[in-house]
Symmetry: C2
């Protein structure tokens, strides 16, 4: 299949590993997708050597865009915005703004990326706050969950907008027809969440979305919902809780399997099981959260991403750019508004 | 060791399984602990047959306290409070109030149990809101987390009180000297939680507690914190997220191990590993959440608890009663107040 070329700007310096991950991952993505082009934004002297061995067919689709500054992982977002106008992160976003790139990807500081992207790209009309959305493995494939940390406090308006944006990502990017949308809440009838979730629920019930009601934490994995909407505080806590729990379980299982030689044999016999489970739940294959609600495509990779994980973030950027997610969100937002005005 | 007898009132009708779980679990707890006495509160005709085969040494320590009503699992808390004054749940709590029992345990409707316990027992002086606390398995053993769902919205005052109550449970009940207390928050510096968590953090820094600062979702399992403080909305979502994730993983692993005969062999070889992991992380061994902040000991068992799980909830009730947790909380609260007044 021949497709129109998609050009991705990569913050080559971002993340815990910088170019040693972003450059090989970019080459891997170019290998996977022949219509992809990549602009590596960063310190040329750090990037160039890593491109040395690349095949000509890949090298010809990479360009280096020099950047003299780097945003550190613990830099305050407002400092990054004010003082790092020549950073690899900022220039990658600028390339999206100018239309030279269709999407950008960074494994850098989430707060700085969000603040800079919001400042440079602005939000889509009708969106007050961009949100972070990601796929979470679930029984039926995966659930899309937002916000995962961009907005600690949210109004009912924000939650309704998140629901619209989540529906677009689930349907347009991932082909889920009429995605089922739920608002995260707690179970006790009399203790249920405050006016914000109640008001958002009322409005979603009256919308054209496939709103199914309140869901609880365990429903994220149940297969009964496709889009889980929540504020960024709760969403971030839930996401980190999942990460922490899986890390602990994996390390406990490893410890048990390496306790004695018999256990090593059992581990060897179980290898195909681990391989399947890992393939299904490998966090690397879910790496790449979208900052939705902006006028351009911005993908945040986990800071500790390795080459496999960062390549996945590039793949998500490519799909989102190809599907024109920001335009689809703008369309669904105005359709909803016409609907509510009618 | 001879200890003073502890008497527990059991809501025999509560939970998904009622007496078929609560009665055998009570007998198991009596078997484990020779100084324990149990009052089974409920419909005598449902309870009596289940005691028929019990050894005389156990039977002599059980008394049936008749109750003519049952609170259903989906009953509204206010309805339960107003219309079910003869329910097994209500009468079990009444027995704690009158001093006839040192603690009560119910697997019934959480909202109804909390509302009734609060109405009958009242809160300890200095505690505005009772909270639900439970142990969560972690790398170093377990973390105590509260609130797990009693209060969807919390003020800084509430969070400070939760920190004090969590410290008492961790130190007095579980022998953790100077428990490390953290407030759950999200990582992005500029997006961190609102004024409530910031204010609670300031006050805990100035308290006599061993406050270590903000923690994130993954820290629940990291071993770096002993008491995790959060509002009931976030806490409940985190707890349910853990439950949902573990359920999904266990079912995925089972599916992989039963895919073909070779996999069955691998499963057999891995049996000791599963047994250890299960022993370490079995949710049944963590069953029994305390409703702390009340003047008496009230333990909530999971509604779906089986005999093993419910027995564990009884064990927790016995320890909490023996340690006098409500008194310890009252003491630490007044010590903090003297500290802050000084």
């Amino acid at each position: 299949m021949t497709s129109a070329p998609i050009r991705i700007a990569v913050d080559a310096m971002g993340g815990d590993h910088g170019p040693s991950v972003t450059v090989p991952a970019s080459l891997a993505a170019l290998q996977d997708e022949s219509s992809l082009e990549i602009v590596l934004v960063g310190l040329a002297e750090r990037i160039e050597p890593l491109l040395a061995g690349a095949a000509a067919s890949l090298r010809s689709r990479v360009r280096i865009h020099p950047a003299s500054q780097v945003v550190s992982m613990d830099e305050k977002p407002q400092d990054a915005l004010r003082k790092k106008k020549e950073s690899s992160m900022r220039l990658a976003i600028d390339l999206v703004k100018s239309g030279e790139a269709h999407a950008c990807v960074s494994a850098g500081n989430t707060g700085a990326l969000m603040a800079t992207a919001r400042f440079v790209l602005k939000t889509i009309e009708g969106v007050d706050r961009p949100a972070i959305i990601s796929r979470i493995p679930a029984r039926h494939g995966y659930t899309h969950m937002l916000d995962l940390g961009a907005n600690a406090e949210c109004t009912a308006d924000h939650l309704v907008q998140f629901a619209i944006m989540g529906s677009v990502v689930a349907s347009d990017m991932h082909g889920i027809a009429k995605p089922r949308v739920g608002i995260l809440n707690i179970g006790e009838e009399e203790m249920k969440g405050d006016g914000v979730v109640q008001e958002a629920a009322r409005r979603l019930s009256a919308s054209k979305l496939n709103y199914i009601g309140f869901v609880e934490g365990d429903d994220i994995f149940s297969g009964d919902v496709d889009v889980v909407v929540t504020d960024g505080f709760t969403g971030n806590v839930a996401l980190k809780t999942m990460e922490g729990l899986v890390t602990m379980l994996v390390s406990a299982i490893k410890a048990e399997y390496t306790r004695n030689p018999l256990r090593y044999l059992a581990a060897a016999a179980s290898w195909p099981v681990f391989r399947s489970i890992r393939r299904e739940f490998d966090p690397r294959s879910y790496n790449g959260a979208s900052m939705v609600g902006l006028t351009g495509v911005v993908i945040k990779s986990h800071g500790s991403a390795d080459v496999v994980a960062f390549t996945n973030a590039l793949r998500i950027a490519s799909i989102e750019a190809r599907k024109g997610v920001p335009t689809q969100i703008a369309n669904l937002l105005s359709a909803q508004q016409e609907g509510s005005a009618a």
